[in-house]
Every structure is written in C-alpha cells, then in structure tokens.
C-alpha cells in the first residue's frame, strides 16, 4: 500500500499525546506500519517523550507538551513518517516465534463446535485452520499482557456473541472477527472460547511480568485434554520460543 493522501494521519489524542494512524481498517500493511513506527518512536530520544504504544493500526506517543510544544512534536513525527514507506517496513527486530500448547474443544473449551460452525468448518477443520501456521501479535492491550492475534483466514470473520460469556478463564483462547485473543485473567467476554492454554501471560510479581511483545508470532500446538493438568504445573504452560531471524 502506498502513501495515500489521507493516511498516515497525525491527530492530537488528549493534551499530552499524538496518535499516528495508518488506516481506517485492520490490514496486514497498516498493522505492520503501526508496529514498525512505534518501534522507531522507542528508538528516538525526544526529551519530552514519556511512553509509546501501538494499537492495531496506530502508534501512540505520550509526551510532556510543557517541555516540547505540540508543533515541535508534530514536526518530528512528520519527519519520522517521511523517512520511509512504513507500510513496507520490516517488523521490529528481535521478534520471537512462540509455540504454545493448547487443548481445543472438549470440556476445556466448550465453544469450539459453535465457532467452527459459524465459520463453516467441522471442528477438525477449525483446529487445522487455527494451528497450521503462526499468527502475529497485532497488539497487546485492553487488559495487562492481553494479545490480539491475526489475521485469520476470511472464514473466521464471525461476529462476537451478543450475549457475554460470564467468565472466560485465564489462558483461554477465543475467536471473532478474524482475530484470536488469549486471555491473561478471567473476564466476561463476547469472544468464543475455542481452546485452553496454561500460559500465564501476566506475572505481576515476576522478574519479567510480560512475556509477549507486539509483533511476536504464536503457533498453537493441539494437545489432548488429559495433558492440561500437567501443563498447569508450569507457568509457561509448556510454551517455548525461538528468536525470528
């Protein structure tokens, strides 16, 4: 995707932030641009910069406008945008490919059948579709350490449920709108619970509280339900990673 007249777009987001958006809809290119641009922001050393983050299609910078004015930061953002075609940018360096064991369906993940049916798959086809290749962490947010993964095959463009599931357990993998979410803590949700992992994504008391980074990839490895109690002995739930070169 080339630079269009409308995108990327820089907007003030509150008094102390700017949002640099790369598209109106989630596309691979817009997500790649957001991740790469946020990574570039992290490597700049603007004196007023406080922190940055990336959503599905945007990078956010929080700064102290009383230290460096809005016009100055906007100009710096424009310069950084002009430095390259961000839609073609390589993903951040040091990304990792995670292998995460998951139990699909059965009592551990009761909504595999209905999610598969909504996508027009048999449960076996659904498992194959969700595990045959890695999915990218498009963003982390909403709750601490919670990844949004995608983009799934077009068949998975299924809506969220209108009725919320009262409490989805920690480690649950759920699907909707061509994305997967892996839940770090129990929560009500409209996403359908298709698999269960024992991967603890947020460890507030740990040395490294957050295991995943935006841009990392995850490949889910299907396991029999009997394996779950053993996986639950290990905070990593059997997950392991290699650095992507």
């Amino acid at each position: 995707m080339a630079l269009s007249p409308d995108w990327p777009r820089i907007s003030a987001l509150g008094f102390d932030g700017f949002l640099v958006s790369f598209g109106e809809h989630l596309t691979e290119a817009a997500n790649r641009a957001a991740l790469a641009f946020r990574d570039a922001l992290e490597r700049e050393s603007w004196p007023s910069a406080r922190e940055s983050s990336a959503s599905l299609v945007s990078a956010y910078l929080r700064f102290d406008p009383l230290r460096q004015g809005h016009a100055e930061i906007r100009a710096l953002l424009q310069d950084l945008l002009a430095r390259q075609d961000w839609y073609q940018a390589p993903l951040p360096r040091g990304r990792r490919l995670w292998h995460v064991p998951a139990v699909f369906g059965d009592t551990a993940a009761p909504q595999l059948g209905e999610a598969a049916a909504a996508a027009g798959f048999t449960p076996q086809e659904a498992i194959a579709s969700l595990t045959e290749r890695p999915v990218r962490i498009q963003t982390i947010g909403f709750a601490p350490g919670q990844p949004y993964l995608g983009e799934l095959a077009p068949e998975w463009d299924i809506p969220r449920q209108t009725e919320l599931t009262r409490q989805i357990p920690a480690g649950a993998l759920a699907v909707a709108i061509r994305q997967l979410v892996l839940f770090p803590m129990p929560t009500p949700t409209g996403w359908r619970h298709v698999a269960q992992t024992a991967f603890q994504l947020f460890r507030p008391l740990g040395q490294d509280p957050f295991l995943l980074r935006p841009g990392d990839e995850i490949r889910f490895e299907p396991l029999e339900e009997q394996a779950l109690p053993r996986l639950q002995q290990d905070p990593d739930g059997g997950a392991r990673f290699e650095v992507i070169r």
């Binding site: 987001l13 008094f15 958006s21 959503s55 299609v57 929080r62 963003t139």
Partner: protein, 341 residues
C-alpha cells in the same frame, strides 16, 4: 519505622500515587490518584514530593492508627474526620500521636478524599508504582490489621498548616480537545454537545464517570463500526445509548466506543469528584489554548507551598472564631452547638 495501621477501611479505600508510566504497550494503563491535585495539595501540606503514595478514600474512609507519631494531611473531598473524637479540619496537616485513633467517615462534598502521611506510604512498588489497579490485580490489598510503612519523614516537620483548595467538587465547565474520532460526529451533534447541560449520573468508578443530558442525541452510526483504538484518561466515549462516559485514571488501554474528544488533565479532578446530579458543560479549546490552561494549572500546583497558612490565626481577624480550631489543629467540634443552646 513508623507505620499507619489500618484498623478498618471501606472497600473504596486504596493506595494511590502518580501511577505507573511505561506499560501502556503491555496493556496496563497509568492509573494513579483519581484527583491528582489532591496528591499535590497533600504533598505541599507536608512539604514532600507529590509522588508520595497516599490513601485514596472513595465516599468514606475508615479507622486508622499510628505506630509512632505521624504527620498527616487530609485533602480532596472533605470528610468527617476526628482523632479520639476531636474533629479535624480538612485541607490541613495534623499530628497523629502514637497509639491514637483516627476516624474518617463519609464525605460531606465530592467523592474522593485523601489521607497522606509524612514520608509517604512506602509499600513495595509493583511495576514502578504503589498504586492499586483493580483491573490489573496490582497493588497492596487493605484489610483490618494491614500495616502501611511510612517513608523517612524528611518534609517540613511541622503540622497545623492549611490550604484553600481549588473548587472542584460540584461540576463546572470541562475544557475539551478534538481528537481523531471527533469527525465521526455531525457538526450539529458537536454544536449540541457544546451547548447541552449534562449531569453526572450514577455510573462511575476509578475507570470513568457517566454523564447524561436530554438536550442532545450523540448516537453515531459511523461510530458503531470503529476499530478498537488507543484510549486515554479524559476521553469522552459515547456509549451505545448515546450518552457520554468520561474516562478516568484506571481506564483500559484500548476501546471500541467512538470518542468525541478528550477533557484536559487539569479538569479531570472535577469529573472524578462530582457526585450524581452535578452539572457539567463542555467547551472545545484549541491545542494552543489547552497549553496555556495546563501551564497555568502547573504553575498553581508549583505555588501550592507558598499558599500554606497556619491553622491558628489572630483571633481578631477571624469572623467565625467559634467555628475555628484553636489548639493543635483540633477543636471540641461542638462549640457552635454549645454556644447556641
């Protein structure tokens, strides 16, 4: 080491400081005190750093005790407070003698009161902050018997000082900036939003506060289809029923409701402190105007230490002498009643 002992606390009591920066990208919002000005006022009263952690009390406080003599300050929403039955003036610093009981009851105005101690509360930090963040499961859990360690008290060493707090407990005008999604609303809706009178409704906690108005319909068909995007404290989300919800410090990091704009940081204490029924109006400002408003607010905070006054003044200049406290910042509290009878 001196400790503040929590003998009892209402569920709305939590430890808060300026919040944790640097974890937005991992899904953890900054959090921190709902009324950051009250943190600055407490720090000024005790002559210490505004980053010190304090107890935030939503609606009501609890019963507390000091293991050693402690300097304390009370700020934010005024609450009924007393030491061993002797009423305390709010927006002031006091001595809490070792072993005496501090009782903090319900608030008389506003929503969030703050109890500060000399040296600040120095529990162990989690992700660089002592703030409780319920949604993230972060922060010290308070229960009867919890002992909160005080940091070394290197402040002004004095008590018996007071501050005139900035007015922020009864609603008012909120300055708001346009944002990336303001264009999802029609010019008529934006004009209506700016002219309507809103009232704080019953929806509200540390994540945000709801407002309602029957003078404008902010429902946006375009807005229902927006992609989840970065959200920040101050954002005015328009929820499915067309009513605004102003995000506060514990808001999530991403959200899918359309946002008409973002309230300036210096106006957020008004939103947090308002009670149901408080009246609000919104006023759009430019970035340049916002910078002037925020610079003035920052200057007022920096000047707080100069605005301190002693609790005891020359009786000749005090018109409401009998309502005033006369000794060590304490009064029997029933002087007025006794005088009348």
């Amino acid at each position: 080491m001196a400790e503040l002992i929590v003998n009892s606390a209402t569920p709305g009591v939590s430890l808060q400081d300026a919040g944790r920066a640097g974890f937005l990208a991992q899904g953890v919002s900054r959090g921190g005190a709902a009324d950051t000005l009250a943190l600055a006022e407490g720090a000024a009263l005790l002559g210490q750093d505004p980053c010190c952690a304090a107890l935030e009390m939503a609606g009501a406080g609890g019963l507390f005790e000091a293991s050693e003599d402690l300097r304390i300050a009370l700020t934010g929403a005024p609450m009924q407070a007393s030491i061993e039955g002797t009423p305390l003036v709010w927006n002031a610093s006091h001595l809490l003698p070792r072993g005496t009981r501090l009782k903090i009851g319900g608030c008389t105005r506003g929503s969030y009161g703050y109890l500060h101690i000399g040296g600040g509360i120095e529990t162990e930090q989690q992700l660089g902050s002592r703030s409780s963040h319920a949604g993230a499961g972060l922060g010290q859990i308070l229960q009867p018997g919890t002992r909160l360690p005080a940091g070394p008290d290197q402040g002004t060493k004095t008590t018996g000082l007071r501050l005139q707090p900035e007015e922020r407990f009864d609603g008012g005008t909120l300055n708001i900036l346009r944002g990336p999604q303001t264009c999802l609303f029609s010019p008529e809706q934006i004009a209506g939003f700016e002219s309507a009178l809103f009232r704080r409704d019953r929806r509200g906690n540390r994540m945000g506060a709801g407002l309602t108005s029957d003078q404008v319909d902010l429902g946006s068909a375009k807005g229902l289809k927006v992609l989840s995007e970065v959200i920040v404290p101050g954002d005015v989300q328009i929820t499915g029923d067309g009513t605004p919800f102003v995000l506060l410090s514990d808001c999530q990091t991403m959200g899918g409701y359309p946002r008409i704009g973002t309230v300036l940081p210096s106006d957020l204490p008004k939103v947090a402190q308002a009670r149901p029924g408080a009246a609000f109006r919104f006023h759009f400002v430019t970035l340049e105007e916002a910078a002037e408003i925020e610079a003035r607010a920052a200057a007022r905070r920096a000047e707080l230490p100069k605005a301190l006054r002693p609790l005891i003044r020359d009786p000749g200049t005090i018109s409401d002498l009998l309502a005033y406290q006369l000794i060590s910042g304490m009064t029997a509290g029933d002087d007025l009643e006794r005088n009348r009878s």
